[in-house]
Symmetry: C2
Subunit: 311 residues, 2 copies
């Protein structure tokens, strides 16, 4: 089934201990839609400027991503530059030029309104809620947010979170949102605000999904997926969005939503995140095959599973 | 088969956000031997002072731990007091009184010399090496160390690490020992110095075992075991030693050493660590049953395993 993402298309300049790149295609919607494109039909709603060319758009369309929802505005596309030190968990932002993104008011094209699965990437929670309300027939809504909105728009975010079925954030954001330093306790407090599931991303340690009691009819036992121990992380930009793309893309590809589907979605999220960080920008996500993805899924299984026989 | 641990017996005063305790039984050998006692016959070599009573010794003997190797010296037992804030990963040490531990020169009793499995808890690497050399017939040696020795006695530690088959340390120690900020790369550098396996403990995120190429004849794929998401960690003291106790205890209980045994040992390590942190001091480890341990093992499996059928 189809999956719609509303987020950013951007140009990024990135410096890491492995090298640097200038003004390459980036943004949450780019990483998300490329990662999800290996699982399901993906549709993008975003805004770009005059510097976004047909060649940039082709990066998405070559992966079968529907780009009719991309709004072309006068001015430049969102630009971000940042630098990572040895600690890959946090980027040091050097420049943020919102450009056309500053006045972005997402409008969902008529032909997208029946999309079954929706992902609200990290944008203003007011806009996220507005999109959610336009999409009345959506079966399942995933969403992301960040420190900035937790601090600046806590009330608006609280309203938006009620409209999200599966929230994907990291450890720090979870603890900050809940005001609790124990992750499992913080996770339960966030779930009490509305989402049925909360995916907490732990960076190189993987991610854990926590469930609200009664949600999906599958009990409250959490589930943890690993990340791949990689000798070299070249560029962590987009890892979280790629995780979300693999996670939501796999869910959208399945007929029903049960515990096993969500568990496997966690693994596919980790798999797509592990590919994303191997190269600068989204390059690695543009030319994968489903066979490579499933081979890495098996590596994730090998990394975590006891043998079946010796239960 | 029997398992010998050489380490510290101590009294600890501990303060955490959950409360505080004064002068309770602690030390690496206490946590290790209690955790391991559910799997195999455990023998302890350590030193204590006049303040270590028959009642303290009974905490160990009631679990079937052999205490004939405990040396009684004049003076007080090793005393440590520390405090944990919201970040449970690091204790703030308030007092360290080495007391009788200062002149500890471990002597292995004659009747222990044939012990098949040995664990060198975190003590001076020179003493660790000395113990290793006394134990000529040991089949497998596990060991721990810490920042202090990595910084103060790097050359001595390098020699000791050559004598250890399975080294158990945390992320920071691994990176520090290797001088590399990438964990998988650092792990391989540490393995190049001698150990056949390296267990890196990630605190609340579990632990990963890395293998030296050709070691145990099981390839080099790492394996990751989770930690349990616990609403309340009351006292993290001894979590690493309890992990080591579960890990080495399970290995010692098995006839052969293969990949599956090591994987399950990682799970049992996590299980014993999760029990340790539920109460102050080693209390929780004194009255478990193997049934409780195996029930928690199943929770760890549920936390990480996809269903078997849908491979």
């Amino acid at each position: 089934m189809a999956l719609l993402v509303v987020g950013s298309l951007a140009f990024d300049s990135i410096k890491t201990p492995s090298g640097h790149v200038d003004r390459i295609l980036g943004g949450s919607a780019t990483y998300f839609s490329l990662a999800a494109s290996y699982f399901t039909q993906v549709r993008v709603v975003a805004v770009v400027g005059d510097d976004f060319t047909a060649e940039h758009e082709a990066v998405l369309t070559r992966r079968g991503v529907s780009t009719e929802g991309i709004e072309h505005a006068r001015g430049n596309t969102f630009f971000w530059s940042g630098e990572y030190g040895e600690n890959f968990n946090e980027a040091k932002t050097l420049t943020t030029e919102l450009n056309v993104f500053e006045n972005f008011r997402p409008r969902i094209p008529q032909q997208y309104l029946d999309t079954e699965f929706l992902f609200l990437a990290n944008i203003d929670p007011v806009l996220q809620a507005d999109v959610r309300r336009q999409m009345k027939d959506t079966r399942l809504v995933g969403g992301d947010t960040m420190n900035y909105w937790i601090n600046r728009k806590p009330r608006e975010l609280t309203e938006t979170v009620k409209l999200i079925d599966l929230l994907l954030i990291n450890d720090t954001e979870t603890k900050m949102m809940a005001g609790d330093s124990s992750l499992p306790r913080a996770a339960n407090k966030v779930l009490a605000r509305g989402p049925r599931g909360l995916v907490v991303k732990h960076g190189e340690y993987g991610a854990t999904i926590f469930f609200r009691e009664g949600a999906f009819g599958i009990g409250t036992h959490p589930f943890r997926a690993p990340a791949l121990p990689l000798d070299e992380v070249r560029d962590p930009t987009g890892a979280g969005d790629s995780f979300a793309g693999g996670f939501m893309g796999y869910i959208a590809s399945q007929g029903e939503l049960n515990r096993e589907v969500l568990k496997r979605a966690m693994f596919y999220g980790g798999v797509m995140g592990s590919f994303a960080v191997e190269c600068f920008g989204p390059e690695r996500l543009t030319k994968l095959t489903r066979e490579e993805i499933d081979a890495r899924f098996q590596i994730f299984r090998e990394l975590t599973h006891l043998d079946h026989e010796s239960t």
